[in-house]
Symmetry: C2
Subunit: 250 residues, 2 copies
DNA sequence: ATCCATTTGTCCGTATGTATA
DNA sequence: TTATACATACGGACAAATGGA
């Protein structure tokens, strides 16, 4: 929303007074978007890329520095640089903030409750950048940690893109972002989470084994792809009696 | 601390040789801790500092890069580099996450409800790194946005260090971190927030004009100084009907 | 177990661009 | 205009990690 970096997204109309390393970064990003390298694949060496873009290795390095801090590229000394993949660990660390009393993270297990395709409400379509009335894939699942249900979750996706997910309703994996990346060429790189305290409704009470009205934490997340376009709405309604949401500020 | 003679006793397990730019960063941090420059003050130029530490400007620049990303130093092209200060804007952006429906931040006004010195509970003292039974300064205040009460807040500090704050109970400023920095040589640079949904108790109900049991968001924050020592516990119990907690993940 | 090529990481010195006062 | 300070860019050198021969 208030992201200044969206201002640098104009492809070629830009007067391009940008620093060279920013231009190189954009060219690398374009190549990633064009699937020149797939997730997990190794990039050419810094020397080769510098040669290709006709810049010094220092400039190319600075370009990649930025992509590394954005978790788009992973660098490993002695091995090479790789397009980042959505491993369970990665998703857990960057996108999952519920921890136990000892601040430990544990990936919850998921069970699908219902999955269907429906017309989106106008507000939902607007948030996903879709035309009003577009059809959405609506997944409801309950996630539990250590056997106890903790999260009552709803996931909304454009059915035009992700509709075929409905066919795997039973075998839906735990880490959806990995699936988006592998099956739909969609890499989630950033997200915005809005948190509220609300009272459990009947659906929550049923899914989480609590009483109606119990205070629960609602996490409303919107996830973005490489192009900063909204991909997914995810509403997680969480018990916070044994787990809490941890946010490090630094 | 990092005595090289003792460190060399562990040749293979302990990488004794930090990169030069990390060493330089630590030396600059030490100088800041020693109050060589006060908050807001300008550092010597990169050229001068490079000379002083006998490193190249590139290496010095990389050291300062790290301090800039940690919000400890602010750089301004053409002007110089400065020790970061806790302006209201800075605190607002990094430490205040309650926003309105349009995702806009607004610094709330504060009114002190009660301020006193008491013996800390063992859990509180442990979290602040104090001996059990140490005396704490306990501040209760209500914060409102646009005239409506939104946050019922409790702040806990070591009375040994911050006890004199009690004398300004009426004139306590809105942005406490700025005060810590200016009056107590304590700069808050990082924090950890734990969020839970809870039901309002009688105190919350009274402060926030809501009914007992209304779901509210509890933010339990522990704030750290430059040395990563815990300084402050802050428990904010918030209405989230008109405002919500925004967390950007990127 | 050792050597060796490859790749990223660090460091240097220099030159030039750009913002500020 | 001028001086100062940070920002970008270059090219070269060596260190450290990795993995295969």
């Amino acid at each position: 929303m208030l992201d200044p970096s969206t201002a640098s997204q104009f492809p070629s109309t830009r007067p391009t007074r940008n620093p060279l390393y920013i231009q190189v970064k954009q060219r690398i990003l374009d190549a990633i978007r064009a699937r020149r390298w797939k997730p997990g694949e190794m990039l050419p060496s810094e020397h080769q890329l510098a040669e290709e873009f006709s810049v010094s290795q220092g400039t190319l390095r600075k370009a990649i520095d930025e992509l590394v801090t954005q978790n788009i590229i992973i660098r490993q000394q002695g091995k090479g640089s790789f397009i980042a993949t959505h491993t369970a660990d990665h998703s857990l660390f960057y996108f999952f903030h519920l921890v136990d009393a000892q601040n430990r993270r544990e990936l919850p297990h998921s069970a699908v409750r219902r999955i269907r395709i429906r017309r989106g409400l106008s507000a939902e379509c607007a948030r996903l950048g879709l035309k009003a009335g577009s059809s959405l894939l609506d997944i409801k699942r309950v996630r539990d940690i250590g056997g106890a249900p903790v999260i009552n979750e709803t996931v909304l996706l454009s059915a035009a893109t992700f509709g075929s997910l409905k066919d795997m309703s039973e075998s839906l994996p735990n880490t959806l972002y990995k699936l988006y990346q592998e099956k739909y060429d969609t890499t989630v790189t950033s997200a915005a989470e809005s948190l509220r305290a609300v009272g459990a409704d009947e659906d929550d009470a049923d899914a989480l084994s609590i009483e109606v009205g119990t205070p629960i934490l609602e996490i409303d997340r919107i996830a973005f792809n490489l192009d900063r376009q909204p991909i997914e709405i995810r509403i997680s309604r969480c018990r916070t009696d044994r787990y809490h949401y941890l946010n490090m500020l630094e």
